[in-house]
Symmetry: C2
Subunit: 545 residues, 2 copies
């Protein structure tokens, strides 16, 4: 039996686009003599469709796509994910389902039982969990059909769930497990996925074919890495990451064991590739091609620009240098050098006269009051406005250059340097931004060395340094990670040996700056806990603040 | 038996504040000879605590508050909501529970069974549903203890749920039902709540005491309106809306039937009062007192300013008039008149020179290109920056003045007129903004008549009118409501008799402007479907766009 796996980049709500991609791969699999072709979870409509699922018109379009696939299934079995109606009045209106379609017949529809409702996932908002499980028979083989999270409660050991779908069917003797997933990237997740796939195979002693999505949907990046696991737990093949792929496997070969193709793993390499895919898909799926970035001479905008250049091409990236009276000479010279290294268009626009125009008009109100954050923010906002004006004039999307460390503690200006359509490195801590820069330079200098080595500064007042108001990023990032990724409280972090005053100050900064993060662009998610849809915090709260 | 009901304004995460309020009311109820005092759902920590619930430190503080309440319960039963640990490893870590504490003993802990996971609610993200139900006995009475949504599945007729908690205990013969709620306001919801309370009483023939929260938590406004229902279904008393309240009821009186105190209902009045409470609590709970608003001479900023003045007092509201070369004379004169009517501080800052400073610097890039949205947005953003500068200099929070109609179709400038810490009327359609203005003027002119009667205009280019680019608001608002509140698709709306081209254009505008709404301030929620946390849409999608 030949099993084809299609690791594809879907687009939420783009029914025609998704369908054409699926139909194209069905045709290809027929030519390749495949008996079955597998696509991803909710492949019909893209994942996550979010509240589009509440529109009956949207569900109707999903059904129309399934009908078109049914018509195309002559001589081949197609396994594809789509939402389906819950036929009884009790419970949620929909199921998250895997269709098994063969020879123009819908042979089986297996619903998903384990509905992730945490972090970025909201599945219980829409879907009723499956309560019935059965194997699908095809050409003499018995197949256990599962959807994503269904395989993540091995032997009921995951405390989130009280059911283990594969345990329900294992006595019927499946020949292999198919899993349709939409499992998003974070830099720890590929390894977790492999462990889960292996643990299932260890438990049930049958091979597994695990098909993932690839591609970004706004901030969520699907990394691919679909898996075929031999019955002894060997990874028969780990498909590539961050690109579409399509492969056909002979079941007997997978059963026989004998090969193990795996992919390299490295946190910084993965973040690098994920961000490039994230930027590329944000533009491609919105129908834009060009971006504009404010280059400050600092490392954040430099790394963002390199990502953009690698995602969109040097002809589609333009940068703007916007020095003020407080800017160092090297902020301009380092930026020009970077632009020249990348071969991208740059312009220099001074903001001093704009700043003076504001101060002139504000003089009657501000007269006699000391220089403070109002004047600092005016500079950052003047820059933001210039970028937005260029965006509006030429149709370039502004890319935001904030990193996760500063987003966490509110070290940024709303509507100023926090502006932009997409935050590229907003889920990357500053210490990892440095690592990314080093990685980008591994085959020769792309980012000028001085950008990497100089002390970070916002340059909004004379001789300002980040270290004037923030602790060293090495310490800051560790405390932030304990609080944000690991949900440790102040007592637990202090018990790790950090200064109590510092810890309380940082946690307070994180909490009181929720209002700023609320109004900023979606940030490409690369960690297990990114700001945005996966971290839902009250703005008006008083916890640790 | 005397039952005290405390309809209070809690503050998320403010354990000390919430506890003091609760302890104060326990003391008062003791003096009043009450046998039981009831507080709201999750009153200990405020509702909704969102992802703070994922911090064990946060749960520990909840437990400490419960311990303090236990110590204070000598001689009185206290019924109060708090999160509790799920003691078994299976399922979610927490329950959403009602404590029944008497004489320093925890008599019972009833968990919530029906966990709303739709719109603004995410309860299944955190909580395991209850599976066990039993009555609480107190001084010879048997009490059915329920939490909010638990009473919203009468006889299993709500399709969202498969269990009806009160059906589980009714055979044990409860004397009355207690319900601890955190039921947020929308202008249709008070009536729905009354219907549900009555329907429960009709079914079970026992009285109900329904305690709600009051007060705003960022965008979510709790309106109070706690209910006491006599066993024949009469509303014995509907407590006031939008203010804290505390009352003591004699159970025998409620049983006897004989009074029916209800509150007036009117959509515009309710929106008006809700918005005032929303603004007041946003400032009060964040520790701010003063706002700044850009007054354009249009109706949106006028209505926003009146709300602000009524919430914060005229000494705490300052407005800024920022005319440009495209501004009409009346934009200034009408605004001055409004400011004078309200007795609030106003300043006039011209933006023409600031605009020219930008255009001068952009000349090398923009030379020869026609005036377009870049120049229009520059004006709106120059105004936004001036407001933010005043905010940063004086500590006033900028109030956003966008209405729901323009937020829906993207008729606004990101970082310009869409700036601000809180969107006051962002969930009010333009046609209702006019109704609010009329209501505000009911006892004499507050908003100058000309502001209400002149055709709406953004005044960003010569002789611009909203009607140049948008349909009449009467039509626009109906189509938007069908799509947003009622989740109707294009075919259904067209079938109602609206022009197909217009409907498709409007729905497309709503969907392609998700990126703008993503970056704007939280909007006080007054409808059943507000933009923000209750409406979760992909930015990069292609549905109807």
């Amino acid at each position: 039996m030949k099993i084809a796996m299609a690791q594809l980049n879907y687009h939420i709500g783009n029914f025609e686009g998704n369908l054409n991609k699926i139909l194209g791969h069905i045709a290809k699999a027929k030519i390749d003599g495949a008996d079955i072709i597998c696509f991803g979870e909710l492949a019909i409509c893209g994942y996550p469709p979010r509240d589009f699922l509440e529109f009956s018109d949207f569900i109707r379009q999903c059904e129309e796509s399934i009908e078109r696939i049914r018509m195309a299934s002559k001589g081949i079995a197609v396994v594809v994910g789509a939402p389906t109606h819950n036929p009884v009045p009790e419970g949620k209106d929909l199921y998250n389902s895997a269709y098994f379609i063969y020879d123009q017949e819908i042979v089986a529809v297996q619903h998903k039982a384990l509905l992730p409702t945490y972090d970025i996932f909201d599945e219980y908002r829409y879907f009723e969990p499956a309560t019935e499980f059965s194997l699908v028979e095809h050409k003499g083989k018995k197949i256990a059909l599962t959807v994503c999270e269904d395989i993540w409660n091995i032997g009921n050991e995951n405390p989130l769930y009280t059911i283990c779908p594969l345990d329900e069917v294992i006595d019927d003797g499946p020949d292999f497990i198919l899993n349709l997933s939409a499992s998003p990237f974070n830099y720890d997740h590929a390894e977790a996925r492999i462990e889960v796939a292996k643990a299932n195979v260890d438990r049930y002693k049958v091979p597994m074919f695990y098909v993932n999505h690839v591609g970004a949907q706004t901030e969520i990046i699907f990394d691919g890495g679909s898996l075929v696991v031999s019955p002894d737990g060997t990874i028969y093949e780990e498909m590539p990451y961050f690109i579409e792929d399509y492969r056909v496997y002979e079941l007997d070969d997978v059963m026989a064991v004998g090969q193990s193709i795996v992919q390299p793993k490295d946190k910084i390499l993965e973040i690098h590739d994920a961000l490039i895919l994230g930027v590329k898909d944000y533009f491609g799926k919105l129908g834009f091609s060009r971006c504009v970035i404010g280059l400050s001479g600092g490392i954040d905008s430099a790394v963002t620009t390199v990502i953009a250049e690698r995602a969109l091409g040097h002809n589609n990236v333009r940068v703007v240098l916007m020095p003020s009276q407080f800017s160092s000479d090297h902020s301009v010279s380092d930026s020009i050098k970077l632009a020249e290294n990348l071969g991208i268009q740059y312009d220099i626009i001074k903001i001093e006269d704009i700043y003076k125009a504001y101060m002139h008009e504000l003089e009657p109100l501000f007269s006699g009051l000391p220089f403070n954050i109002a004047e600092e923010n005016l500079q950052a906002r003047a820059r933001g406005m210039l970028l937005m004006a260029i965006s509006n004039k030429f149709g370039n999307i502004v890319l935001n250059t904030s990193n996760k460390s500063e987003a966490a503690v509110g070290y940024g200006t709303l509507y100023g340097d926090m502006c932009g359509g997409l935050s590229v490195i907003g889920d990357v801590y500053k210490t990892d931004v440095y690592r990314l820069a080093r990685y980008m330079n591994k085959d020769g200098e792309v980012i000028p060395e001085h950008i990497i080595t100089k002390p970070p500064s916002a340059e909004l007042r004379p001789n300002q340094k980040d270290s004037d108001s923030l602790p060293d990023y090495d310490i800051l990032d560790v405390i932030l990670e304990q609080y944000i990724e690991h949900r440790k409280g102040p007592k637990e972090i202090i018990a790790m040996g950090y200064d109590e005053t510092l810890v309380r100050r940082i946690l307070r900064l994180v909490n009181i700056n929720e209002f700023k993060r609320y109004q900023t662009a979606p940030a490409l998610r690369v960690s297990s806990k990114a700001f945005g849809m996966g971290r839902r915090m009250p703005i008006v709260g008083k916890y640790l603040s």
